[in-house]
C-alpha cells in the first residue's frame, strides 16, 4: 500500500523483541501519543539486523530507517547489540557513499521500561525525516545526473 500522500513518510523500524519492542508496547500501554509513520518489524535481537535489510529498505523507497535494541550490556543474548553497534556504525558510511543521507538512518537503545524514551525517539526521528523530506529515489534522479554532468565524471 502506498504511503498517504502528504500525511506520512515511509519509516521502517527494526526492533529487538526483548527491550525495544517491549518499550514500544510500554509506550502504547501508557497511551503516549506518537506520529503514525513508523512501521515496526520485530526481530529477536538487534544482532539479527542485517545492515543489508536497511539498505534494501532504502533502495526500495524508505525515507527513514530506525533500529532499536537493548542497552549495551542488557542484551537478552548478552552480545547481540554489541555486534549490531559495529555493523550499524559501518553501515552509516555505506549509506553515505551510496548517496543515501546517513541522517535518514538512526539506531538507539530503549529498554522495555522506557516507554517515555521510546515516544521521544519516535517523535524526534519522525520529525527529522519530515524535515529531510522524501528520499531521492531512482527514476527521479537521472535528471540530476545529467545536469551535474556526472555521467562523464569518471
Amino acid at each position: 500500500m502506498p504511503v498517504l500522500e502528504g500525511k506520512e513518510l515511509r519509516i521502517v523500524g527494526f526492533l529487538c523483541n526483548w527491550c525495544s519492542y517491549g518499550g514500544a508496547d510500554t509506550a502504547g500501554v501508557g497511551r503516549f501519543a506518537q506520529p503514525t509513520d513508523l512501521r515496526v518489524i520485530k526481530l529477536p535481537c538487534t544482532g539479527r539486523v542485517n545492515p543489508l535489510f536497511v539498505v534494501r529498505a532504502f533502495l526500495n523507497g524508505a525515507d527513514g530507517v530506525l533500529v532499536s535494541g537493548c542497552h549495551p550490556g542488557d542484551c537478552h543474548y548478552t552480545a547481540g547489540n554489541f555486534y549490531a553497534r559495529r555493523r550499524l556504525e559501518v553501515l552509516r558510511e555505506l549509506l553515505d557513499v551510496m548517496g543515501i543521507q546517513p541522517e535518514r538512518f538512526h539506531y538507539t537503545w530503549v529498554s522495555a521500561s522506557e516507554g517515555q524514551k521510546w515516544k521521544q525517539v519516535v517523535s524526534d526521528f519522525t520529525a527529522r525525516i519530515h524535515e529531510l523530506g522524501p528520499a531521492t529515489s531512482f527514476s527521479s534522479c537521472a535528471a540530476v545526473a545529467v545536469e551535474t554532468g556526472m555521467k562523464t565524471a569518471i
Binding site: 501519543a33 526481530l43 529477536p44 535481537c45 544482532g47 539479527r48 539486523v49 534494501r56 537478552h76 543474548y77
Partner: protein, 652 residues
C-alpha cells in the same frame, strides 16, 4: 497458502480509533488471503472458536491475528492453531493496539497503518514453514548456589521432592546472614533456634551434597544439561577426618586472625570453626594468619589433632558436577559505611554497623551477649541508631531502599532495652518503611513500649568527645537541629549486591542490574525465573529481601525446578539457527561470532561444515548476519521472512 485474517476490536481499545472492518476488507486484497473478518475479542473463548471454525470451513493453513502485542497473546493463539490441527508457527500477529490504536488519534492514519501491519504479517506468513520442537533428555539434579536461608529452603524443598541437590557455599559454613542474627523481627524469636534445625536437615538429608568453602568456577551447557565445575578452596584440614572437636582452636597460638563470622568484632584463631552450630562443623585454617603456612614453623594444631586431620600441603581442588537446573541464592553484602566521612569514615571505634551490633547482642557472639563498646568494653547507656546508611542515597549510588533496615533497627532498639534496662535508644530515620504482617505494630512497640526516641532527619556529623560522641542532626518534624550524646552509634547499613555477583551472572549468562542484583524474568510475572532457561533466583541476590520473603522465594524457585523436572524430556525451541549444508563453505565465521558457542564445525564428505547445537542455540541470529552466503538461517526469522516484510512495506 490459504490465509485467514482476524482483526480484533478489543472492545473499543482498537475499534475506537481503527476502522477494523475496513482493515479486514483491505486484507482480502492481499495475496493468499482466503478469508478475513473483524471480531470483537479474538482472544476470548468465542473469538478463538471463530478462528477454529474458519480454519475448518475455509481450509485455512495460515492465520494472521491483528490485535494486541504478541508479547501478550501470541502463545494463546498458537494454542488455538494447534487445537485446530495447524502447526503453531503458521501464525503471525499484527500489533494494532499498543503500536496503533493506543498511540494515535487520527482514525484514517490508524486504519491505514493497521492495514499495512496486517499486510506485513501476511507477507511474512507466506514465507513461514512448519516448525517442530525437538526433544532432549534432562538431568534431574539441581545445583543451589548459596547456603543462606533462601538457598537452604530451596535445597530442602528440592531434596524433599526427591531431587538430587548440589549445595555450593562460599564460606566454611551455611547459614548466611541469618545465622549471624541474634533475634528476628517481628516475633523476636531466636534466629539460630529457628535456622539451626534447617541447617542440620541440610547436613543430614540423603539427597543433598554440600560443598562448603567452594565456589562455582564455570558453567557450560544449557537447561537440563549443565556442566558445572566447582572450586573447593583449600581448608588445610581433611574434612573426612575432622570431627569438629575444636581442640585445635584452643591451642592455636595465632589469635589475631580476622573473625569473618563475627564481622570483625574481635579476632579469632588462625584455625577456626566459625560458630558452635556451624554446618558442616569443620575446622578451616586461615592461610594468612597461620604461622605454619606463613612462616613455616608451629604446627601446634597438627600435633594435638586427635584425628591427624591437618593437611598444610592441601591445594584447591576442582570437581565436576552435572545438573539440569540451577538456583542462584547468593544473597547480599552490606554497604561499606566508611564512604560516609560525616560518620567518621571508619575512624571511630564505637561507630559500628548493625550486623556488628547483632553479634554484640548474640549470646553466641564474642561478648557472650553483653553489649560492650569496642573501644573500652564499657556498657553503653545512650545508643544512637542511624538509618539509611547506604540506602536511598544517590550520592553514594545507592538510590534504592534496602527494605529491612527500618525493621531490624526497631528490633535492635527493643533488644537494647532488654539487655540494658536503663539505656536510651535514639533512632534517626528518613521514613519508616514497615509494610508487612505485624511490622508496623512492631515499630510502634519500639517507640511506645520500649521508649526508643525516633527523630525524623539525617545526621550531619558524629564528633568524638571525651569518652563519648556527639551526634548532630536535623529534626525535620520539629524543624530544629538536634545534638545527641552517644556512647555507641549503630549504622543501619543498607544491602548491596553480594561481591562477585556480576562475575557469577556472566558465568550463568543471566543479566544483572546496575547495582549487581540479578534480573528476574519479568518484574511481576516471573519473579524467580531468569531469561536463561533452567536458571532460577531466590532471595536477596535479586534485590534486598527480609527472611520471610527470601524463604518464600526459595520455595518458589524449588517449585519451578520441580515443575521443570516433572517431564522426562524437554522440548527445544525450534526458533533456532539451522545450516543449509550445501550452501555452507565452512569458513567458520558463524562459529567465531556465536555468543553461546552453539555452532560446531563438522566434516561432511571431507568438507568442513558448520552445524548448530539446537539445544544450546538461543536464537539471537548473530550468525545469520555473519554468514555472507546466508547458509545459516534463524528459523522463523529467516532472511526471506524479514525481506518479505521489508518489501511489503517498501514495494518501490
Amino acid at each position: 497458502m490459504n490465509i485467514g485474517v482476524f482483526v480484533c476490536h478489543c472492545g473499543s481499545n482498537i475499534a475506537g480509533t481503527v476502522d477494523t472492518e475496513k482493515v479486514a476488507e483491505a486484507a482480502r486484497s492481499f495475496p493468499d488471503v482466503a478469508f478475513a473478518t473483524d471480531t470483537m475479542y479474538a482472544c476470548s473463548e468465542p473469538g478463538q472458536a471463530g478462528i477454529i471454525d474458519a480454519i475448518k470451513d475455509y481450509g485455512l493453513d495460515g492465520i494472521v491475528v491483528a490485535s494486541c502485542t504478541p508479547r501478550m497473546h501470541e502463545a494463546t493463539f498458537r494454542k488455538t492453531l494447534e487445537r485446530a490441527g495447524l502447526n503453531k508457527y503458521l501464525f503471525e500477529m499484527a500489533n494494532i493496539r499498543e503500536h496503533v490504536s493506543w498511540i494515535g488519534k487520527d482514525k484514517e492514519l490508524n486504519t491505514n497503518k493497521a492495514a499495512e501491519l496486517v499486510q506485513m504479517a501476511v507477507a511474512k506468513l507466506r514465507n513461514n514453514t512448519e516448525l517442530h520442537a525437538g526433544e532432549f533428555e534432562i538431568n534431574k539434579r539441581v545445583m543451589v548456589i548459596g547456603g543462606g536461608v533462601a538457598g537452604i529452603q530451596a535445597a530442602l524443598d528440592c531434596a524433599d521432592g526427591g531431587l538430587q541437590v548440589i549445595l555450593v557455599e562460599r564460606e566454611s559454613t551455611i547459614g548466611g546472614k541469618m545465622a549471624k542474627l541474634d533475634k528476628t523481627f517481628p516475633t523476636v524469636d531466636c534466629s539460630s533456634c529457628i535456622l539451626g534445625p534447617r541447617m542440620v536437615d541440610v547436613a543430614q538429608h540423603p539427597n543433598i551434597t554440600l560443598y562448603a568453602m567452594s565456589e562455582v568456577e564455570s558453567v557450560n551447557g544449557f537447561v537440563g544439561n549443565f556442566d558445572v565445575s566447582i572450586r573447593k578452596k583449600a581448608t588445610y584440614v581433611d574434612w573426612e577426618a575432622c570431627t569438629g572437636c575444636g581442640q585445635c582452636m584452643e591451642k592455636c597460638p595465632s589469635k589475631k586472625a580476622e573473625d569473618r563470622f563475627n564481622e570483625g568484632v574481635g579476632t579469632t584463631t588462625a584455625i577456626n570453626i566459625p560458630f558452635p552450630q556451624a554446618i558442616p562443623k569443620k575446622a578451616v585454617i586461615n592461610a594468612n594468619a597461620c604461622i605454619m603456612l606463613s612462616k613455616g614453623k608451629c604446627g601446634a594444631c597438627a600435633k594435638l589433632c586427635p584425628t591427624q586431620a591437618i593437611r598444610f600441603e592441601q591445594q584447591d581442588e576442582i570437581v565436576q558436577e552435572q545438573v539440569g537446573a540451577i538456583i542462584a541464592a547468593t544473597g547480599y553484602d552490606l554497604f561499606d559505611h566508611t564512604l560516609y566521612g560525616e560518620y567518621g569514615g571508619g575512624r571511630y571505634p564505637d561507630v559500628i554497623t548493625s550486623i556488628q551490633y547483632e553479634r554484640l547482642l548474640s549470646a553466641s557472639g564474642p561478648t557472650g551477649g553483653h553489649i560492650k563498646r569496642p573501644s573500652d568494653g564499657r556498657e553503653p547507656k545512650n545508643i544512637v541508631f542511624i538509618q539509611c546508611v547506604g540506602s536511598r542515597d544517590p550520592s553514594v549510588n545507592r538510590p534504592y531502599c534496602s527494605g529491612f533496615c527500618c525493621m531490624y533497627t526497631a528490633k535492635q532498639a527493643i533488644l537494647t532495652k532488654d539487655h540494658i534496662p536503663d539505656s536510651q535508644s535514639h533512632v534517626f530515620y528518613m521514613d519508616i518503611r514497615s509494610p508487612g504482617k505485624l511490622y508496623d505494630e512492631f515499630t510502634r512497640r519500639a517507640m511506645e513500649e520500649y521508649g526508643a526516641r525516633y527523630i525524623r532527619g539525617r545526621v550531619s556529623t558524629i564528633q568524638p568527645r571525651d569518652g563519648y560522641y556527639v551526634v548532630k542532626g536535623a529534626d525535620t518534624i520539629m524543624g530544629s537541629q538536634v545534638e545527641v550524646k552517644a556512647d555507641l552509634v549503630v549504622l543501619a547499613v543498607g544491602a548491596e549486591a553480594s561481591k562477585g555477583a556480576g562475575a557469577l551472572a556472566e558465568k550463568l549468562r543471566i543479566s544483572y542490574d546496575g547495582y549487581g542484583f540479578f534480573m528476574e524474568g519479568h518484574p511481576k510475572l516471573k519473579p524467580v525465573e531468569t531469561n536463561t532457561a533452567g536458571v532460577y533466583l531466590a532471595g536477596s541476590c535479586q534485590g534486598p529481601k527480609d527472611i520471610p520473603a527470601s524463604v518464600a522465594q526459595g520455595s518458589a524457585a524449588a517449585s519451578k525446578v520441580q515443575a521443570l523436572f516433572s517431564k522426562d524430556k524437554l522440548a527445544s525451541d525450534p526458533q533456532v539457527s539451522s545450516v543449509a549444508i550445501q550452501r555452507c563453505v565452512g569458513c567458520a565465521k558463524c562459529e567465531s561470532t556465536c555468543p553461546f558457542g552453539a555452532i560446531e564445525m563438522t566434516e561432511f564428505r571431507g568438507m568442513p561444515k558448520a552445524s548448530v547445537v539446537e539445544t544450546v542455540c538461543q536464537g539471537c541470529g548473530v550468525c545469520a548476519v555473519t554468514c555472507p552466503q546466508g547458509a545459516i538461517q534463524l528459523q522463523h526469522f529467516t532472511d526471506n521472512q524479514i525481506l518479505a516484510e521489508v518489501n511489503a512495506l517498501c514495494p518501490y
